[in-house]
């Protein structure tokens, strides 16, 4: 499976680092509790932020003459080192305000030391540090590639935080949590990498506090340490450590390590003897340690623990996604050259492959020669009779990565024989560009001389097994094969739960023309114009579908009588009062649009059926236009009176008739071409165009619309198809 460079990198990086990443994450979660545990100790002075060195240093020095060093840790605990009155070494926490001793620092926990060593160096010293540093860098790249993948998935940076479409547990939470913990993980990886670079001296963190010029040291005028400017102006919170003078001698001095600089201070005069500002790299190192360990903030430490835990979940869910994706791969038993059935798949995350695989298996079991590949692998199929395209749409109506080459390949490889095709689009109505790429593929194929549509494009919302089953059953009927989809793909059973009574049937005036049939439902069935009536005239698997027009509370069908036609002969044989059994299949994608102000309805032949039902409803403030194609006036006469009536009541804004065998011999698309201003206006104003009739008519009209859309509206016809502004129900 071809996958995008970002997805490939994301996976490759994850595979190459997951073992060490697991180790670093587990130890990371544990280590996050170190600062939390430390901060519980009551060693921090409430006054800490308010104190200056002048409040602390002289006082402590007089209280504890043996003091040699004061240091302030990340918890803002003040630690004093020196000798006590007995001359013994002393290391205690002290209250900087009062000088009270608060407690002795505990020996560093052996457990945390052990975990820290494992986290930093895997107990392998320099080698281990290198691998951990590398892992950290890989995590940084994983975070970056993951961010790009989220942006692609959400179709743009600005939509980064919008809702995520749920496909399955692993995928959904991988993305949701990825977005939530993006910043802490990014910072963990970045600071980890930085600290490793600094550790290996690839980032220069060296600085030198210049030596004191002993000849220039002044021993006067003596000042009280409380009045040293540097002490008065330096808050305690700015301090890392203070080294006290080793003796009273003027040549011994204070050394202050601040957060941004270090300096020596004359202990007699308070003069600054030498000073160095840390390079930016040192300050960044301090920040990195703060951010990486959470040592300065318990809340951040908790957040880091959660983020580290999340990494473990990403490792699990990432592999779950990959395994699932791989399971959809197909190993072909036949070659492209010898196969009659070709399944072309376009999928970004692999879910469409599972549908393709199901059809592939079914056809194979029936002894058909099937070949499945990606849309990008389109080639010559010398023996093909059927092509099935199953494709998802990625990002902003774009092709999935493994389908991006399809248009070029299609143009470059014309097929040598006529092939029937069928396009199945997979998508979600949660995205505005629903199945846009599938529509594009369908439109592209319809323009090829060698390609004949077998059934019209079908779209599957949110992997609906019912919708897929519907397509499979229609396709199988037309292709003359049987597909017995397993229950998890949920094909509708061939049941006839609905009963109807025939209330009207017209008699043919012209042989082999169309007739109208009215059925009264024998129950409160819920249905609308555009739904389908399924019947099984042979009491077997053979299903016939008819478009329903809901007229005066009854089901009205328009049927063309075919000689030997299973369905049409059965229905024509019915008499008023007869009962029939069937099933109403909801077909919501071809219901009359509720919101559109302008609707153009286009039909040829018996495709007028659903529209007759739609215009039977009150127009309200909507404008409805009807374009119909018939062979001749006689074929139209069946519907003429009801259409005239709707025109008179204003229920129908306009009506145009194209006759293909009479007069100027026009097709319905010619009428649309003449009225192109109206068509463009309707599309521009979010109106809807509905097509019902033959696939040939659909092909012609879509081609015409594509021209209008690209030249006048600047968008492809697939844009309007995917946005529900061009609805189609053709056969």
């Amino acid at each position: 499976m071809t996958i995008s460079i970002w997805r490939y990198s994301h996976l490759a990086l994850a595979v190459s680092s997951f073992i060490l990443l697991t180790l670093a994450s587990v130890t990371g979660v544990i280590l996050a509790f170190k600062p939390i545990q430390e901060k519980i100790n009551p060693y921090r002075s409430d006054q800490f932020e308010a104190l200056y060195l002048s409040d602390v240093i002289p006082q402590l020095r007089s209280q504890y003459p043996g003091i040699t060093k004061l240091s302030i840790d990340a918890n803002q605990f003040v630690q004093m080192k020196g000798t006590d009155q007995e001359g013994e070494n002393m290391l205690v926490f002290v209250d900087p305000k009062t000088g009270n001793l608060l407690g002795k620092p505990e020996a560093p926990s052996e457990f945390f030391e052990w975990v820290t060593a494992l986290h930093r160096s895997l107990f392998l010293h320099e080698t281990g540090r290198f691998f951990i540093g590398l892992t950290s860098f890989l995590l940084l790249l994983i975070t970056i590639s993951g961010t790009v993948l989220i942006i692609q998935r959400q179709r743009g940076v600005r939509r980064f935080l919008t809702r995520i479409v749920r496909e399955n547990f692993a995928q959904y939470y991988h993305v949701v949590l990825g977005r939530l913990s993006l910043i802490p993980i990014f910072l963990l990886a970045l600071t980890g990498t930085y600290l490793s670079l600094a550790r290996f001296e690839l980032i220069d963190t060296a600085y030198i506090l210049p030596d004191v010029d002993y000849d220039a040291i002044q021993d006067g005028p003596p000042r009280d340490a409380t009045s040293f400017d540097i002490f008065k102006n330096t808050p305690l919170s700015e301090i890392q450590s203070v080294d006290f003078p080793f003796s009273e001698d003027v040549e011994d001095y204070y050394t202050l390590q601040l957060k941004d600089r270090a300096l020596h201070v004359n202990q007699v005069t308070g003069e600054i003897l030498s000073e160095v500002k840390y390079p930016v790299s040192v300050v960044l190192t301090e920040w990195s340690v703060d951010l990486h360990t959470g040592r300065t903030n318990a809340f951040w430490a908790i957040l880091l623990a959660l983020a580290s835990g999340n990494i473990l979940f990403f490792i699990y869910s990432g592999f779950a996604i990959t395994l699932k994706r791989r399971s959809g791969r197909i190993k072909n038993n036949f070659t492209a050259e010898e196969s009659n059935f070709i399944i072309l798949t376009g999928s970004e995350n692999g879910s469409t492959f599972r549908f393709a695989q199901e059809i592939y298996k079914q056809l194979l079991q029936q002894g058909k020669k099937v070949y499945a590949c990606e849309l990008n692998d389109f080639q010559e199929f010398p023996k093909a009779t059927h092509i099935i395209v199953m494709t998802a749409t990625y990002g902003l109506g774009n092709p999935p990565t493994n389908a991006a080459q399809f248009a070029i390949k299609l143009a470059a490889r014309p097929q040598v024989r006529q092939i029937h095709y069928s396009v199945v689009g997979f998508g979600s109505h949660a995205y505005p560009d629903f199945c846009k790429f599938a529509f594009e593929v369908d439109n592209l194929l319809s323009r090829q001389d060698w390609a004949t549509p077998l059934v019209e494009i079908h779209t599957i919302n949110d992997k609906s097994p019912q919708e897929f089953g519907q397509w499979a059953s229609v396709w199988a009927q037309h292709a003359g094969v049987t597909l017995d989809l397993s229950t998890d793909l949920g094909q509708d059973q061939h049941t006839c739960p609905h009963n109807f009574t025939v209330t009207e049937k017209t008699v043919l005036t012209v042989p082999l023309d169309a007739f109208r049939l009215r059925l009264r439902p024998e129950g409160p069935y819920s249905y609308a114009s555009g739904d389908l009536l399924a019947i099984y005239p042979g009491n077997d698997h053979r299903e016939r579908l008819y478009s329903i027009g809901k007229v005066a509370g009854e089901i009205q069908l328009s049927i063309k009588l075919h000689p030997g036609g299973l369905g049409s002969e059965y229905l024509y044989g019915l008499q008023v009062g007869d009962r029939i059994h069937g099933r109403i299949d909801a077909n919501p994608h071809f219901h009359f649009p509720e919101k559109a102000r302008q609707v153009v309805m286009v039909s040829n032949g018996t495709g007028i059926a659903p529209f007759l039902g739609m215009i039977d409803e009150e127009a309200g403030d909507r404008e409805r236009y009807l374009y119909c194609g018939f062979r001749d006036q006689a074929s139209f006469s069946l519907y003429e009176s009801s259409i005239r009536e709707h025109l008179n009541t204003g229920n129908l804004a306009s009506f145009r008739l194209a006759r293909s065998r009479e007069g100027s011999r026009q097709y319905v698309k010619d009428l649309l071409a003449q009225d192109q201003e109206l068509i463009v206006e309707v599309l521009k104003n979010n109106g809807v165009i509905m097509l019902c009739g033959s696939l040939a008519m659909q092909q012609d009209v879509v081609e015409l619309l594509d021209g209008l859309c690209t030249t006048i509206l600047g968008k492809t016809v697939s844009y309007y198809q995917s946005h529900g502004q061009i609805l189609m129900d053709c056969y």
Binding site: T83, E88, N89, E113, H125, A206, I208, D243
Partner: protein, 165 residues
């Protein structure tokens, strides 16, 4: 009976008289010195430094202070580690933090007074993770003069100073 009583009394008396001298022998008079180690501006991790008392024959006699808390690294102080492995003593009371480049450390050393001016010396042995090990970063003769002077180191230690505590 009487004889045994007298014997017991003698024994008791002997105990009373002898015990203090034994105790005195255990606690020889010591001197405390503040010892300041000033580090050079080397780059890298904190240095592990051990301060040992070296007898006139040049052999380790006693560990006086260890700068560096993590046992994991003690083997990098090779020579001392051999001594410590042969004659393990509890050093937890004389262990402190390691020192980084440019920093200084001040600690108190407790030295038996009798060892001063008797041919003994103080050895400062240093090691930094993945850098050179200095068995004699610095060796100061344990004399009155040696303890008063500022002694320069050869490795990570820039100099060492003492002051009586």
């Amino acid at each position: 009976m009487k004889a045994s009583l007298i014997k017991t009394a003698w024994l008791l008396l002997a105990f009373i008289l002898v015990t203090p001298t034994v105790m005195q022998a255990q606690k020889a008079p010591t001197s405390k010195y503040k010892c300041m180690i000033q580090m050079t501006n080397y780059l890298g991790e904190g240095a592990y430094i051990v301060i040992s008392l070296i007898n006139p024959k040049g052999a380790y006699e006693k560990t006086l202070y260890v700068l560096g808390p993590d046992k994991e690294w003690y083997n990098s102080l090779k020579e001392w580690h051999k001594f410590q492995a042969k004659k393990p003593t509890n050093i937890s009371a004389i262990t402190g933090a390691s020192v980084t480049g440019g920093d200084r450390a001040v600690n108190v050393l407790e030295i038996e007074s009798s060892k001063i001016n008797s041919g003994y010396s103080l050895r400062f042995e240093s090691a930094v993770e993945d850098k050179k090990y200095h068995m004699k970063d610095l060796e100061v003769p344990l004399t009155t003069e040696g303890l008063a002077a500022k002694s320069e180191g050869a490795g990570y230690i820039r100099y060492v100073r003492f002051s009586p505590n």
